[in-house]
Point group: C2
Chain length 415, copies 2
C-alpha cells in the first residue's frame, strides 16, 4: 500500500462537475490500493471574488483579516469534495489547515511552515479514510495564517514530507512540464522527468505549472513530485533527484518571459558599498531586480545595469531620482520592450561550450544580446521582445529538444 499526497488546483475543482470528477479520480487511486491525503485549493475564481469584496471595503486590508477571509475558499472546497467522496461510498473526512496541524510562523499573508503535527491525519488514515486537507492555510497559536503564492503546492509537498509519502502528485490544467512553452513553440515536448534544480530554473515554463517554493521544499525533503493533468489520463512529468537517461542531456528546456526592462545607472562612485547601497534602496521599496551587471569604465566610476519588470519602471525611476544625491550617480538610462530567454539543464555545469553555442545560434539569427547572466545550470540572455519567440524556436531546434531521447548511446554522445 503506497501513501500518496495528491494536490488539485483551483481550476481542477472550479465547478461541482469538476469536483465530482476529482472525486472519481481519488476513488480510482484508492481502489488501486493507495492511502490518500488530498490537498485542494479554493474553487476556480472564488478567491478573486473574495479579494474583490475586500477591495470594495478598503484599499489596504489588514493582512490578518485577509487571511481570515481567503481561508474560507479552501474550506468550501474540502467540504464539497468530501461530500462527493461520500456520495461515491468512500470514507473521507475534511480538515482545515489548523485541524491538519499545519503550524506556521507568526506572519500573515506569507507565513512559512514551521512544523506539521500529523497526529490527526494519521488517526484518520488509520481508520481507512481519505483525508482532504485545505491547502494554502495554516495556524500560529490560535491565529489563522496563509502561505502566500503557491501555497497549496507547498502544503501538499510539506505534507508529503511530514507523512513520509511515497510521492506527491500535483494535478493541474497542463499535462506536465515541457521543454518550452507549448503555446509559443509547437515543437515543445513534454518531459518524462526533470531534476529539482532544473525545475526551479524552469519554473516559468508550462504556464507556471508549479510554484518554485514547493519545488525547493520537495528538493530539501527529497519528495518525488509528479505533475500531471487533472482532466486527461496521460502520463505527467516526474520531478526527482535520480538521474535518468534523459537527465544527462545538456539542455533540458528553454524558459522565457517578456515585459523586461533594462535600467542603467551611470557614473556611480567606484566604492565597496556602491552595489549594496543601490540595491538596498530598491529593495526597501520592494522593487524586484533580476539580472545585475556591473561595468567599471574608469578607475573612479562604474555603470550598473539591472533588469526589472515593465510594471516597476515608473516606481524605480522615482526611487532613483529621489536618491540621486545619496547614491551620487550622473545619469539614468532605460530600455523597454525586452525579453529574457534562458536555457536550463543540469548537464551544463560540465559543458563550457553550451553558452558559446547559445550565443552562436542567436548571432546567426541576428538576435542582439543586451544582457547575459549565468548560473551553474542556466544561461539567460536579454534580447528585444520582438526577437523572443524566434530565439526560443532556434535554440529549441539547435539543442534538439523536440527529439525524444531513449537510447543510452545517444545520451552518451551528448554528455
Amino acid at each position: 500500500m503506497a501513501r500518496i499526497v495528491q494536490k488539485y488546483g483551483g481550476t481542477s475543482v472550479g465547478s461541482v462537475e469538476r469536483i465530482k470528477h476529482v472525486a472519481s479520480r481519488i476513488q480510482k487511486a484508492q481502489v488501486e490500493g493507495n492511502e490518500l491525503v488530498v490537498v485542494v485549493s479554493a474553487m476556480g475564481k472564488s478567491t478573486d471574488g473574495l479579494v474583490r469584496l475586500a477591495g470594495e471595503i478598503t484599499a489596504s486590508p489588514s493582512k490578518r483579516e485577509m487571511d481570515m477571509l481567503l481561508t474560507t475558499g479552501e474550506q468550501v472546497t474540502i467540504s464539497l469534495l468530501t461530500m462527493a467522496l461520500h456520495e461515491l461510498g468512500l470514507e473521507a473526512t475534511s480538515l482545515t489547515g489548523w485541524q491538519a496541524g499545519m503550524e506556521t510562523e507568526a506572519s500573515h499573508g506569507n507565513a512559512r511552515i514551521s512544523h506539521i503535527n500529523t497526529d490527526r491525519i494519521e488517526e484518520e488514515l488509520s481508520k481507512g479514510k481519505v483525508v482532504i486537507v485545505a491547502g494554502f492555510q495554516g495556524i500560529c497559536g490560535t491565529e489563522i495564517t496563509t502561505l502566500g503564492r503557491g501555497g497549496s503546492d507547498t502544503t501538499a509537498v510539506a505534507l508529503a514530507a511530514a507523512l513520509k509519502a511515497e510521492r506527491c502528485d500535483i494535478y493541474t490544467d497542463v499535462t506536465g512540464v515541457f521543454t518550452t512553452d507549448p503555446r509559443y513553440v509547437k515543437q515543445a515536448r513534454k518531459l518524462h522527468s526533470i531534476s529539482y534544480d532544473e525545475m526551479l530554473e524552469m519554473a516559468n515554463l508550462g504556464a507556471g505549472v508549479l510554484h518554485p517554493r514547493a519545488v525547493e521544499f520537495a528538493k530539501n525533503y527529497d519528495v518525488p513530485l509528479m505533475v500531471a493533468s487533472s482532466m486527461e489520463e496521460v502520463e505527467g512529468t516526474m520531478i526527482e533527484e535520480e538521474v535518468t537517461m534523459e537527465q544527462n542531456l545538456i539542455v533540458r528546456g528553454i524558459a522565457f518571459e517578456n515585459d523586461v526592462t533594462k535600467v542603467t545607472v551611470k557614473g556611480l562612485p567606484n566604492r565597496l558599498n556602491t552595489l549594496s547601497r543601490l540595491f538596498s534602496t530598491l529593495s526597501e521599496h520592494k522593487v524586484n531586480v533580476d539580472i545585475i551587471i556591473q561595468n567599471q569604465y574608469d578607475a573612479d566610476h562604474v555603470n550598473i545595469s539591472f533588469s526589472i519588470t515593465q510594471s516597476s519602471l515608473k516606481e524605480t525611476l522615482a526611487i532613483l531620482q529621489e536618491a540621486q544625491e545619496e547614491l551620487q550617480f550622473t545619469d539614468i538610462y532605460f530600455e523597454e520592450e525586452l525579453a529574457k530567454v534562458s536555457i536550463v539543464g543540469s548537464g551544463m555545469v560540465s559543458n563550457p561550450g553550451v553558452a558559446a553555442k547559445m550565443f552562436e545560434v542567436l548571432a546567426e539569427n541576428e538576435v542582439f544580446v543586451k544582457m547575459v547572466s549565468t548560473s551553474e545550470i542556466k544561461v539567460s540572455v536579454v534580447v528585444d521582445e520582438a526577437d523572443m519567440v524566434l530565439a526560443v524556436e532556434m535554440l529549441h531546434a539547435a539543442f534538439q529538444l523536440a527529439e525524444e531521447v531513449e537510447e543510452a548511446e545517444e545520451v552518451a554522445t551528448l554528455s
Copy 2:
C-alpha cells in the same frame, strides 16, 4: 463604560454597503463609550448558495461536512466587517467560533453550547478593540460545529451572559416586537418592552424576529435583550424581566400561523401508555406535534387529536398506518387549511376571564373554534385558515392592543 453585545443578522450585512453601514453604527456605539462585542451572521443569501452547491453534489450531505461548509459564511462576514471598522480608524479584530472559545456538545448541525472560554475576547477587549465574532458556530475538541436555526442569536445571548454584558442588542430588519404581525394587521403597534416568557410565546410575531432558543437563554441567564432595526434609527423593543407599566396589560400580543393541519386518531385503547406510545412513534420520525387533545368517548377507548404543519401530513399518515396494528386504533381523520391564533400576556394567569372573552369575540364573528390549548400566559385556538386574519383583527381590537398605554391609572383599570 457599558459592555454591550450587538448582533447583526444576514440581511443587515447582506452587501458591502450594508456592512459599511453596520460599521458606522458600531463606531457610533463605541464613541458613546461602550465596550463592544459584535456577533454577525453570513451575508444575506450566501448560506443558501452554499446549501445549493452541496445539493448539487449529494442529496444527503454529512452533517459534519455541512458544518465545515456553512461556517465559512460567517467567517467571510467577520473579516469584511473588521476591515470596514479599520477603514473607519477603529481598532478591531475578528474571531471565528472556535477562536472565540464557543465550546459545544459533540453534535453536528444543531449543537448546544456547553461552555464559553472568554479569555481571548477579554484579552482583545482589554486592548481597546471591538471584537467581531462569527455567529452560529462553535467547536467541540477540534471539530467545527454549528448551533442550528437561530444560532447567531444564541451566540450573541450566550456571549452576553458569559461576558456579563449590560445588554444584548439584536439588530434586524424589523424595528421591534409588535402586538401582532404588521404585514397582516395595520393596527399592529410596536411594544416598548415585553417579558421573556411573553416573547417566547410570541416568537412568531414580527416575522420571526428572534429565535425562541435565544430568548430562553436570555431568560435563564437574565440577559436584557433589545430588538431594533439595523437600518432605521428608531427605538426598539426591550425584552427583560422587570415589570414596566405596559407589562401589566392582560393581553400583550397576538401570534398566528397558517398551514396547520389537525389529525384525529380514533378508537385507541384507553391505557396508561397510549399517549406516550403514539407520540413516541411520531417523534422517532421527527414529526413535530403542536397542540394535543385527548378525548375519552367510552370506558375503553379514547380519541386523540393533534395539530401538525401541512408539510408533515403525508409522512404522519404513513407512519400511523404503518403502526396501526401496534397502536390498535380504528380510524384516522384529518382536516387541512387551518390556522392557529394565540393571545399572549403574562397578566393572563390572574385573569380567568381572558379566555372566555377570546371565545366570545370569535363567536360574535362566527369564527368556529376547532381546538383549544392554554398555558399560563397564552390561549391558542385552531380555526379555519380563511378566518385567521379576521380573528386576529377582531381580537387585536377587543383587547385594545392598538392603544398606547402610558398612564398608570389606565393600567390599573385593566389589571
